[in-house]
């Protein structure tokens, strides 16, 4: 049966017990909503965001200078994914009201009324707990600790504390998405060295231009729900300048893994060439977005949309190049 039918039944007030079918002479029982489908719980984990998290975590794991048992490697990636899903569920539990006010997020399970808020909260806590415990028992407790910190960082520091308070929410909150390659590296090597910190820094510096390019073309959505995103609070001109500044700062960081010595886990020419090419392209987009002005209300914001799309590709290719370099150059 289609989900829309189920929703229609809910609206009419039918559900568990409905109108007392087995006891037709009894008065109607209280209205009870349909339970949420497993697909709604899956949607709560933000699968598309999770793809990037899994990919960067996997790259951190595969780019480490030591090999890892496939079972332990799989466990590490699974835990990163489940932990990210738990954090995403907690994020949606907290932001259900905000999500309802934005076109981009209004169809999510909570604002669409397909799930109780408490279910999302419990699901988020359960996933987070299972991920951290499995990581600790199956991989190592340092990875488990970093995973726990990353979940706390995203669910509490970013979602609850920073996001509704400061236009720098994305800058500081970007740390949450920067942990996966560090965890992957730590799963393979058992410790944290300079290289995973550099990988962390790359994602940290990549996050502001990525999100602010999105925020530029969904600005009205954020303004409507009172989230102090930079374009809403400081205006478009400041945001465009900040995109340019962060992209310039990102470039040397992106190239740094190729400049570090082998003994410190450094990478070779394959990564070096790819990172330079990608950084130049990203700088090109940042210049395009940073130096232009909106052409009235009818502006299609094509450069901003292209920069947002390219930023995703940039991270995929950059981290893919880390693995390719390790496999080709050694």
């Amino acid at each position: 049966m289609a989900r829309s039918h189920a929703a229609a039944l809910q609206v009419r007030g039918f559900g568990q017990g409905g109108w007392g079918m087995s006891q037709p002479n009894m008065p109607p029982r209280p209205i009870q909503k349909m339970p949420a489908e497993w697909r709604d719980f899956f949607a709560l984990t933000k699968p598309r965001v999770m793809t990037l998290v899994i990919f960067t975590g996997l790259c951190g794991l595969l780019a480490a200078p030591v090999s890892i048992n496939p079972v332990i490697g799989f466990t590490a990636i699974l835990c990163i994914a489940v932990g990210a899903g738990g954090a995403a569920a907690l994020n949606q539990w907290w932001e259900a009201d905000i999500d309802a006010g934005m076109k981009r997020t209004a169809g999510r399970p909570l604002p669409a009324g397909r799930m109780e808020r408490e279910s999302a909260r419990d699901f988020g806590f359960a996933l987070s707990g299972i991920a951290v415990m499995t990581m600790g028992l199956g991989v190592n407790w340092l990875c488990a600790a970093i995973l726990a910190v990353s979940i706390f960082y995203y669910a509490v520091i970013y979602t609850i504390w920073l996001k509704p308070r400061t236009p720098q929410n994305i800058v500081i909150g970007g740390g949450a998405g920067a942990f996966p390659p560090m965890i992957g590296w730590c799963a393979a090597t058992g410790h944290i060295s300079l290289m995973p910190v550099v990988l962390f820094a790359i994602i940290f510096m990549w996050t502001p231009p990525h999100f602010w390019s999105l925020a530029l073309f969904v600005r009205t959505d954020y303004a409507k729900v009172g989230i102090p995103m930079l374009p809403v609070v400081a205006g478009e001109a400041v945001t465009r300048r900040q995109i340019l500044i962060y992209t310039i700062a990102l470039a040397p960081l992106a190239v740094a893994p190729a400049l570090l010595p082998r003994a410190m886990g450094g990478f070779g020419a394959v990564y070096g060439v790819v990172s330079v090419a990608l950084s130049l392209a990203f700088l090109g987009f940042a210049l395009w977005v940073g130096l232009r002005r909106r052409q009235g209300d009818g502006d299609s914001m094509k450069p901003e949309k292209r920069m947002f799309a390219f930023s995703v590709l940039y991270l995929f290719v950059l981290f893919g190049a880390l693995v390719a370099d390790r496999w080709i150059v050694g």
Partner: protein
Amino acid sequence: MDNADPVLDAKAAEAERRRIIAGRNNVTALVLVGLVVLFFAITIVKRTGHSAAETRAALEGHPVATAHSGAQ
């Protein structure tokens, strides 16, 4: 005005509810089975050493030839 038969609608709602719960139960069972298999595999790996070669050797009954890596 809604002309739908309340009895038929209630039956449909009940069937829908059962379908949703059955789907959730199936997914939960799959996840639990997956976790059991994963923990079984982790236990074998942890008992036999962490490298893939060591695990293969141990599973095939050969003596473990290489020393355990401290990092892993």
